[in-house]
C-alpha cells in the first residue's frame, strides 16, 4: 500500500492512468491481431486486425514519456471512444451492447482522468532556522 502510494506520488496518477490504458490497449490489440473477434469481423473494408494494430499503436504512444500528456490523453480517448461507437453500431446483435458499454465506460474514465490535475509535489526540505546572531552578522566581522 505504502509502496503504491509512493509510486503514485512519484509518477502521478495521470501517468498511472495512461499506463493502465496502455496495458489494456496493447493486450486488447494483441488479442484482435491474434484472432479475437468482438461482434464483427470487418468494418469499412478494414479487417479487425487493422483495429488491433491501431490499438497497439495507441497503447505504445500512451506509454511513451512526454513533457505534457495532452496528446496522449487525446489519442487514448480517440481510440476508446471511436471503438465504443463502432461497437455501438452492432448493439442489436446478441449481447452486442456489452462491449460497447464497457468501452464507453473506459472512454468516460479517460475523460475524467484527463481533467484531473496531479497533486502538487512538496518542495525540498528547507535549511534550519538561523539565529539572530547569524541573521545580523555583517560579512567580514569576527564571529
Amino acid at each position: 500500500m505504502l509502496r503504491r502510494a509512493r509510486f503514485l506520488r512519484r509518477v502521478g496518477h495521470r501517468r498511472a492512468v495512461l499506463a493502465g490504458f496502455s496495458a489494456v490497449a496493447i493486450t486488447y490489440g494483441a488479442g484482435l491481431v491474434a484472432g479475437y473477434r468482438p461482434t464483427f469481423s470487418a468494418a469499412y473494408h478494414l479487417p479487425v486486425t487493422g483495429f488491433g494494430w491501431a490499438f497497439i499503436a495507441a497503447g505504445l504512444f500512451t506509454l511513451a514519456r512526454f513533457r505534457h500528456d495532452g496528446l496522449q490523453y487525446a489519442a487514448a480517448e480517440l481510440a476508446a471512444f471511436a471503438w465504443a461507437l463502432l461497437l455501438a453500431t452492432h448493439w442489436r446483435q446478441p449481447y452486442g451492447w456489452t462491449a460497447g458499454v464497457s468501452w464507453f465506460g473506459i472512454a468516460a474514465g479517460l475523460l475524467l482522468a484527463s481533467a484531473w490535475p496531479d497533486a502538487p509535489r512538496p518542495p525540498p526540505h528547507p535549511p534550519p532556522v538561523p539565529t539572530v546572531e547569524e541573521l545580523t552578522r555583517i560579512p567580514g566581522d569576527p564571529p
Binding site: A42, A74, L78, L110, P120
Partner: protein, 105 residues
C-alpha cells in the same frame, strides 16, 4: 445498418453501391466526428488540468514560504526578547552596584 458493417461495408461498383457507400460514409462521419470532438475535449481538459496543477504547486510553495518566514521571525523575536530581558537584568544589577549620585546626569 449493422448488416453491411458486419459484412465489411458496401462493395464499390455493385448495383446500389453508391447509396450504400453514402450511408457508410455518413456512419463513418457519425463515428469519426464525435470521436475527434471528444479527443479535442480531452486535450483541452488536459491543458486546463496542467494549468491548475501549476497554480496548486505555486500555492503550496507560497504557503511553505510563509510558514518558513513566520518560523524565522517568531524565533528571532523570541531570541531578541530574551536578550532584552538579560540586558534589563544587567542594567538593574549595574544600578544596584553603582552609587546613586553617579546615575544622575
Amino acid at each position: 445498418m449493422t448488416g453491411w458493417l458486419a459484412s465489411g461495408g458496401p462493395v464499390p461498383g455493385t448495383p446500389g453501391g453508391g447509396l450504400r457507400l453514402n450511408t457508410a460514409l455518413i456512419t463513418a462521419l457519425l463515428i469519426g466526428i464525435p470521436s475527434v470532438l471528444v479527443a479535442v475535449g480531452s486535450y483541452w481538459l488536459s491543458l486546463r488540468a496542467r494549468r491548475e496543477q501549476g497554480e496548486a504547486q505555486q500555492q503550496l510553495v507560497d504557503a511553505q514560504a510563509f510558514s518558513r518566514a513566520r518560523e524565522v521571525y517568531e524565533s528571532a523575536i523570541a531570541e531578541l526578547r530574551q536578550q532584552l530581558a538579560e540586558l534589563r537584568q544587567e542594567n538593574r544589577d549595574l544600578r544596584a552596584r553603582t552609587p546613586r549620585s553617579r546615575h544622575r546626569p
